[in-house]
C-alpha cells in the first residue's frame, strides 16, 4: 500500500497523470495550437479535485509541466486564494516543481478568472481554467448544433444577443467571459476573466492554453495571434474603469476588488492581482 504522507508522492507518476494520458492531452494541445480558437475534444480524466475547480487547467498543466518549470497559480488574480493554494500544493506534491508568486519568474502560470497585470513574455505559457468552453452555449444549448455553427462560422446569433442587450439596457451587459474572435475565424470564450483582461489576449507573446475538464475540451491561442472582442461600430468594446485607486499600492489602472470592511457597508478597493500590487509597493518603498 502506498504511503500517502503529505510530503511524498509515492505511488503516483510525475505530475499525477500517467504518461499515456499526458501524450493524449499533448496531442490535443498541438491540434488546438494549430487551429487557434477551435475547441478540441479530449478524453478528460477524473482528477483528485472536483470538476468545476480547475480539472481542465490542471490536466493541461500536468501534461506540459517539466522538472525545470517554475509554476505560478492564481485564482481571482491572487496567489493566496484557497483554490490557488490547493492547486499549487497539488503540483508541489506530485511534481515537486519550483513555484513562485512572481509573474516574471514563472515559466508556467495556471489561472482562474484573471490574466496577470504584468505583461507576459515569449516562452511563458498561461493555462486558463475553463468552466464552459462553448461561446454559443447560451444561444444554443445543444452541442451538435453549436459545432455546426462553428464549422459554418455562423455567428450571427451571438451578435443578435449582444444587440438585444443594447436595445434593452443601452449597453452590452456581458462583463466577464466576453466573447472574442480568434484570428478572424473562431468565436471563443476567454473563460470567465473580466472583459477588462480581454485586450491582454490580443497579440500576446505568451502561449495561451485553455482546459475544460468537465466539458472535455482544450483550445489555444498561439503567441502573437489576433484576439478581438466582439462589438459594433457604434458601440465599440470598452473596458471597466474605477473612480477609486488601490488602497494598498495606489494603482489606478489595474483591476480592483471591492472589499467590505464593516457592517455599515464601508468599502475599500484593492488590486485583484496580488503580485502586481506587491511589486508596485516594493518599487515605491525603494524610491
Amino acid at each position: 500500500m502506498s504511503n500517502t504522507d503529505a510530503n511524498t508522492s509515492t505511488g503516483y507518476n510525475f505530475a499525477y497523470l500517467d504518461e499515456q494520458t499526458k501524450r493524449m492531452i499533448r496531442r490535443a494541445i498541438l491540434k488546438a495550437v494549430a487551429i487557434p480558437g477551435y475547441q478540441v475534444p479530449f478524453a478528460s480524466r477524473e482528477m483528485p479535485l472536483p470538476y468545476g475547480w480547475g480539472t481542465g487547467g490542471i490536466q493541461v498543466t500536468a501534461s506540459i509541466i517539466g522538472p525545470d518549470d517554475t509554476l505560478k497559480v492564481i485564482d481571482q488574480g491572487a496567489d493566496d486564494t484557497t483554490n490557488a493554494v490547493s492547486i499549487r500544493r497539488f503540483f508541489e506534491r506530485t511534481a515537486g516543481t519550483a513555484t513562485t508568486e512572481r509573474t516574471t519568474e514563472a515559466s508556467l502560470i495556471q489561472t482562474r478568472h484573471r490574466i496577470p497585470e504584468t505583461p507576459l513574455r515569449e516562452h511563458q505559457i498561461i493555462v486558463y481554467q475553463v468552466p464552459i468552453p462553448e461561446p454559443l452555449r447560451w444561444v444554443e444549448p445543444r452541442e451538435a448544433e453549436t459545432r455546426k455553427m462553428h464549422a459554418l462560422a455562423e455567428y450571427g446569433a451571438m451578435y443578435v444577443r449582444l444587440y438585444e442587450d443594447i436595445a434593452q439596457f443601452g449597453h452590452i451587459t456581458t462583463t466577464y467571459d466576453y466573447p472574442v474572435m480568434v484570428d478572424g475565424r473562431y468565436l471563443m470564450r476567454p473563460s470567465p476573466i473580466p472583459k477588462f483582461d480581454n485586450p491582454k489576449m490580443d497579440m500576446n507573446p505568451a502561449l495561451q492554453l485553455f482546459g475544460a475538464g468537465r466539458e472535455k475540451r482544450i483550445y489555444a491561442v498561439p503567441p502573437y495571434t489576433s484576439v478581438e472582442s466582439l462589438d459594433f461600430a457604434d458601440h465599440p468594446f470598452t473596458i471597466e474603469r474605477w473612480e477609486q485607486s488601490c488602497e494598498i499600492c495606489g494603482s489606478r489602472d489595474s483591476f480592483l476588488d471591492e472589499v467590505i470592511t464593516d457592517d455599515r457597508g464601508t468599502r475599500v478597493f484593492v488590486c485583484s492581482d496580488t503580485d502586481h500590487c506587491r511589486q508596485r509597493g516594493a518599487a515605491k518603498a525603494a524610491e
Binding site: 500517502t4 483528485p48 464552459i132 452555449r137 476588488d257 472589499v259 457597508g265 484593492v270
Partner: protein, 363 residues
C-alpha cells in the same frame, strides 16, 4: 413460462430473515453502533434528516443502519415514522441571521465583515485515498481550532450589504401562513413557500442534476454563491399559556443565498435576484442545488420565458420526492400478471391481424 408463484407468505418471511442476516454481514466483524453512525457518518445522517423531514440524529442514524446504508431507504423509514408523530407546537421562523456559525463563505466578495470561515470542508482537499485511514491509524493528536464557531455573534448578511445599495431585490415581507405539503396536497401553480418546502424534502441527486442543467444552458440564471452559512440556530415556540417565545433547542442548518442575474425594466432599475436553499445539518451541496432550482422556478414570476425543465414547476415539483419516485419506479417489481395478460391477448390479436393480410397477399 409465466407461472404464478404460490406460497408467497413463507417466501417473504424467509426473504426478511435473509435481509436481517445480510444487514448484519459477517458476525466476525464488529457491529456498527447507532452512535458510531451518528458521529462518523454524520453527513449521511444530515441528508437523511433533511429529506426525511425530521431533525433527529439518533433516529436517522438508526434508519441508516436498518437500511444497510441505502440512504433513500433510510429517508423512507424516517418519513414513515414522521407521519406517526403528533404535532405539539409550531416553531417561529428560524433566525439564521443570528446563527452561531462554523462555516460561512461568500464567493462574491474577497472579504466580508466577519470574514470568511472555511470550517470543516472537503473543499481544497486533494481527493487522494488516504490509506492511513484503512489501517485505522488516525493520529490521536487533537486539533484545537484557533477561532472556530462564532458563538452567536450575528454576522451581517452579504445580501443585506447589497440590499443597502438597492442592488438586490427586496424579499417581500409576507406574513401569510406558509402552506404545508405534509397536510395539504401540492397544487399548481404553487407559491414559493410551498415550492421551497418541496425542494427541501426533495432528492439531493435530482436537485443537483436540475441545478447543474441551468448552468449548462437549460434555463440559465447566472448564479453567484452570495453566502453559504453552516451553523446552529435556536428553535423557538410561543406556548399559548406563556404568550412569549421560549427556546426549546437548537439545530444545525446549512443555508445558501444565491445572487442571480439581474433584472430591470423601463420603470425599475436593474437589480440582482435571489435563490434560496436551506437544509438540515451540513448539507451544502443540497442547499446550493436547492437555491439554484428555486431561482429557476421563479422564471415566470420574473418575466422570463419558461423553456427548460428546471423552470417548469410541474415537472420539477412532481418528481422531486425520492420516497415517491423510488416507490413508483420499484413498484414495477410487483406482480402485474393481470394487466400483462390483457396486453398479451391484445398483442397476439394485433399480430394475427397484421400477419394474415400478408399471408393472403402472398397466396
Amino acid at each position: 413460462m409465466y407461472v404464478a408463484v404460490k406460497g408467497g407468505e413463507r417466501a417473504i418471511t424467509a426473504a426478511h430473515r435473509l435481509l436481517a442476516e445480510a444487514r448484519r454481514g459477517d458476525p466476525a466483524i464488529a457491529e456498527l453502533s447507532v452512535a458510531q453512525i451518528d458521529e462518523q457518518l454524520a453527513l449521511a445522517v444530515d441528508r437523511v434528516m433533511t429529506e426525511g423531514s425530521v431533525y433527529d440524529r439518533e433516529l436517522a442514524a438508526l434508519a441508516i443502519k436498518q437500511a444497510r446504508g441505502d440512504l433513500v431507504e433510510a429517508i423512507f423509514l424516517l418519513r414513515a415514522y414522521r407521519t406517526t408523530l403528533p404535532r405539539l407546537a409550531v416553531g417561529l421562523p428560524l433566525d439564521t441571521g443570528s446563527a452561531s456559525l462554523r462555516r460561512r463563505i461568500s464567493a462574491t466578495f474577497k472579504d466580508v465583515p466577519g470574514g470568511q470561515i472555511l470550517g470543516p470542508t472537503f473543499d481544497y482537499t486533494h481527493r487522494l485515498i488516504d490509506f492511513a485511514l484503512a489501517a485505522e491509524a488516525e493520529s490521536a493528536a487533537s486539533f484545537e481550532p484557533g477561532a472556530g464557531a462564532t458563538d452567536g455573534v450575528p454576522f451581517p448578511r452579504v445580501s443585506a450589504l447589497l440590499g443597502d445599495e438597492g442592488l438586490i431585490e427586496v424579499n417581500p415581507a409576507d406574513d401569510t401562513e406558509p402552506g404545508d405539503l405534509t397536510r395539504e396536497p401540492l397544487v399548481f401553480p404553487s407559491d414559493r413557500a410551498v415550492r421551497l418546502q418541496n425542494l427541501a424534502r426533495g432528492d439531493e441527486g435530482y436537485l443537483l442534476a436540475l441545478g447543474y442543467s441551468t448552468q449548462r444552458g437549460y434555463g440559465r440564471n447566472h448564479p453567484f454563491a452570495g453566502e453559504i452559512r453552516i451553523g446552529e440556530v435556536d428553535i423557538e415556540i410561543v406556548p399559548p399559556e406563556l404568550g412569549f417565545a421560549v427556546v426549546i433547542g437548537e439545530i444545525t442548518v446549512t443555508e445558501c443565498e444565491m445572487v442571480n442575474q439581474f433584472k430591470g425594466s423601463a420603470t425599475a432599475p436593474p437589480q440582482f435576484t435571489r435563490g434560496y436553499g436551506l437544509a438540515f445539518g451540513e448539507s451544502e451541496r443540497k442547499a446550493m442545488a436547492m437555491a439554484m432550482v428555486d431561482r429557476a422556478l421563479r422564471a415566470a414570476e420574473l418575466g422570463e420565458e419558461v423553456t427548460a425543465p428546471a423552470q417548469d414547476q410541474e415537472f420539477v415539483l412532481s418528481h422531486s420526492d425520492s420516497v415517491e419516485a423510488s416507490g413508483f419506479v420499484q413498484h414495477l417489481k410487483l406482480p402485474h400478471y393481470v394487466d400483462f395478460q390483457a396486453e398479451l391477448n391484445l398483442i397476439r390479436r394485433l399480430r394475427a391481424e397484421t400477419i394474415s393480410p400478408d399471408a393472403e397477399a402472398a397466396e
